[in-house]
Symmetry: C2
Subunit: 191 residues, 2 copies
DNA sequence: AAGTTTTTGTGACGATTATCACAGGTAAAA
DNA sequence: TTTTACCTGTGATAATCGTCACAAAAACTT
């Protein structure tokens, strides 16, 4: 696609890093726009993840199948990137799946094309590094939730720090993300 | 310090990424070797983290103070890097502390010097990106422990996937890292 | 609008875990 | 060796949470 400065993708990249118009063009050239219906699968367990995805609209849900039960490990909303880094990096089969939680628009960046761009443009590699930094900080914070807080406290933490997630994700989907049984989360919320 | 190919640091970097001798030299030039006694603090809560640390020997413990109780969020052993990325990146005060768990040798990389090298050498920035990838994959895996497994299963998981941590970290230190009370972990281990 | 599916609330119960208190053990220091 | 500090084990008890079962509510379909 062509560089469209009205997209959330444009805003997100330029907010994160300083980047020239030509590098930005290169990134947009390899971006593949895709429309998804609710429930449509982007990555399926066992497949090899081949791209990084940016959510322009809607959201996607990342989950692991444990003995037939789906455990949600992540929700990626508009303005954020997601992938299965482990699978992407080592071309190994993914242990999780990703699917759209709503009607979703996303941009896919092919791994190989992106790696080529890293070699061509230091700015683009710098963007990649900064994006990873951001993701790692968020992930560390999320992990610490489980070490520091009880289930009730984890829910309260979400209320103040990420209230939008509570409005868009159903209680049943949220419970596994917080490591709490659905029924328990229902009772916690009642208070 | 000068480039010493016998160090674990050398091996760790060259195993992770392809890098020229001159770039490697630049990295070693900004590396500051430091010896720590057991219990010595490297980063204290409230301070601003200014460098990335590589553990050449021994290990360091990262922890948060919660109402007077220390909760361990990470252990970094020989051959690994650590820092407080959030504090480092935004020059904000750290919400955790880092201290040596044994007599420890580490190499410190000053943030500003490293950022300069990123601009000078694409290889070095590429190294930074790959390192972050590795850290993020590990962190994601660690988070999922809490979502997928019960306390008992978490302990068993460590037994098979990271047995060295069980031998080097005391039960009391390990319990908060696994989100389990010390007494409960003692009982789990008995089986 | 009626029917179907999905989501949420709730009671009952059992299992797991946290907490408190203290004893014994181990390791480091004097 | 003795002292001191820290770490681990264990019992008792209470609190929390998970599981099962089912009803109610809400959200989609047709």
């Amino acid at each position: 696609m062509t560089n469209n400065s009205k997209t959330l993708l444009y805003k997100t990249i330029t907010d994160l890093t300083e980047i020239s118009a030509s590098s930005l063009d290169k990134l947009f050239e390899i971006a593949n726009k895709r429309q998804l219906t609710k429930g449509e699968t982007i990555l399926k367990e066992g497949q090899i993840c081949k791209n990084i995805m940016f959510v322009e609209k809607g959201y996607v849900r990342t989950f692991i199948d444990k003995d037939g039960t789906e455990i949600n490990t992540d929700f990626t909303f508009e303005g954020n990137f997601t992938t299965n880094l482990k699978s992407l990096r080592s071309a190994s089969s993914a242990d999780n799946s990703i699917q759209a939680g709503e009607i979703t628009t996303l941009y896919e960046f092919d791994k190989d094309k992106l790696l080529e761009l890293y070699n061509v443009s230091a700015e683009i590699e710098s963007f990649g590094r900064k994006l990873l930094e951001q993701l790692l900080i968020a992930q560390e914070e999320h992990t610490n939730l489980f070490k520091i807080y009880s289930p009730t406290e984890r829910y309260q933490y979400l209320q103040t720090s990420k209230p939008e997630i509570l409005q868009r994700i159903s209680l049943s989907q949220l419970s596994s993300y917080l490591g709490i049984a659905r029924e328990t989360l229902s009772r916690i919320r009642k208070k």
